[in-house]
Symmetry: C2
Subunit: 301 residues, 2 copies
Amino acid sequence: MKLTILGSFSAYPSFKGFTTSQVLEHNGKSFLIDCGEGTQLQLRKNKIKFNSIEDIFISHLHGDHYFGLPGLILTFNLLGREKPLNIFGPKGIKEIITSLMKVGKTWTNYKLNFIELNSIKSQDILNKNNFIVSTIPLYHGIYTNGFLFRKKTTSHKLIVKKAIDLGIDKTQFSGIKLGKDGVTSKGEIIKNTKLVEPLSPDIIYAFCSDTLFNLKITEQISECDLLYHESTFLKKDENFAVKTFHSTAEQAAIIAKNSNVKKLILGHFSSRYNDLDLFLNEAKTVFENCELAIENKSFIF
Amino acid sequence: MKLTILGSFSAYPSFKGFTTSQVLEHNGKSFLIDCGEGTQLQLRKNKIKFNSIEDIFISHLHGDHYFGLPGLILTFNLLGREKPLNIFGPKGIKEIITSLMKVGKTWTNYKLNFIELNSIKSQDILNKNNFIVSTIPLYHGIYTNGFLFRKKTTSHKLIVKKAIDLGIDKTQFSGIKLGKDGVTSKGEIIKNTKLVEPLSPDIIYAFCSDTLFNLKITEQISECDLLYHESTFLKKDENFAVKTFHSTAEQAAIIAKNSNVKKLILGHFSSRYNDLDLFLNEAKTVFENCELAIENKSFIF
């Protein structure tokens, strides 16, 4: 999987960078996660094919997380999109988007499916192409979800040499990877488990923005391969974090450590800071494998 | 006055440029005219002080003319704006903006005044700081206005040498410019008209986007100093112009010629064209004093 950061600043776009938006690419498809103002420009800059996006996930209805969505929806239409678009977001998002279309007398020629969320418990909201996407309930003053993307490993790795040595024909290989037993040239049946390696674990990405420090989420994001956790403030400004339902870099690192994730990415930086390395340094005192969500940077995992 | 082009492409922002937005600066204040996605970034790039903007004029509710407005309103708030903001736009704009704020539970600490327009006849909508702003009814499929900005000349130019020769003290000069008579050192009263030049004409900017070719507007914009007229298409694609209620470069030039304006600026270019000079060449066959609305370019008049 490949995660590309399109924007990672909080509150408003500026010279420092765009607001929250990310793309998770997998097998030629893309999930778009949040969609701040200017996201369509960032998609172009990062050469993400518009038509690869079938599903958009919006964490919450603060402008810096979705003000690029109305324009993107209409641009898709102007460019002749035909395939449906699924938009997952808080209840209210459908009315917002449709009211913008209504006043503009502009409707899409492709089907727009809104999947509105209002549960305060985690839900599986998408299951396709071996992906399960679940909500991560967050605490941010208004209804907010993070998203957990789980890529299921369904195909076993074949022990090729062993199969050949046993005299199993190559035409059986794809079936064996999916769980079938093998048959040797002499007609002997070889149990599937003897021909394949154990299933490797699922690959998991957890996106958590925006939220007050909340250890409750650690159970759900436990052991994930990559965690993006917001860190709007530094520890010295924790009072602002509490007041605005945000987290500090240190708190993001505590979440990462307690969840035993493989890697942490910090983002959603307040524009008050000029040196982003301060976030990295603060987080690394708690959790070493940590990087900054720098615009146009990709993470492959 | 100084007009700066922030964006001038139609339909959607792309590598070619941002969508419609312009700033008209005058005596330290700014009028913002239309506000496509990314306008706040363009304002920063062009070093327009956010606080100089007191009035925003939205021509119509197609996204490429106002999808940058919600973000700009909230950015003003985050930056601590205190002074009121007036937003002039089609009926419906207040509900759109307030519904976005409602779902985001985000309200401005400064006063937002919406002046909603629904008249199909021209109206004076603002009269302050020696400016009168009037609507220019356009024809674009949905309710659309252009805007006429008239800077009234209220102060006469003093004939300084004559005043001094007559023995009029300098302390009287500002009063004489505003219409008072002068008094010589010997107590003789000199009529105002003998001390000043005639009032120079008002300075007028006409903004016309988007619209089907419509000669009706020529009366209202007659003799203006600067005319921005949309030219979404070239003449060879006039069928598209008609279908989408837009104009061609030639039609914009015909409007300019029939209105006897001093200068024409072409804009709102369709992204289908790679060579904008084709617009300029087409218009110049009809009206010579013509320029393209190139992003970040300013016109002083």
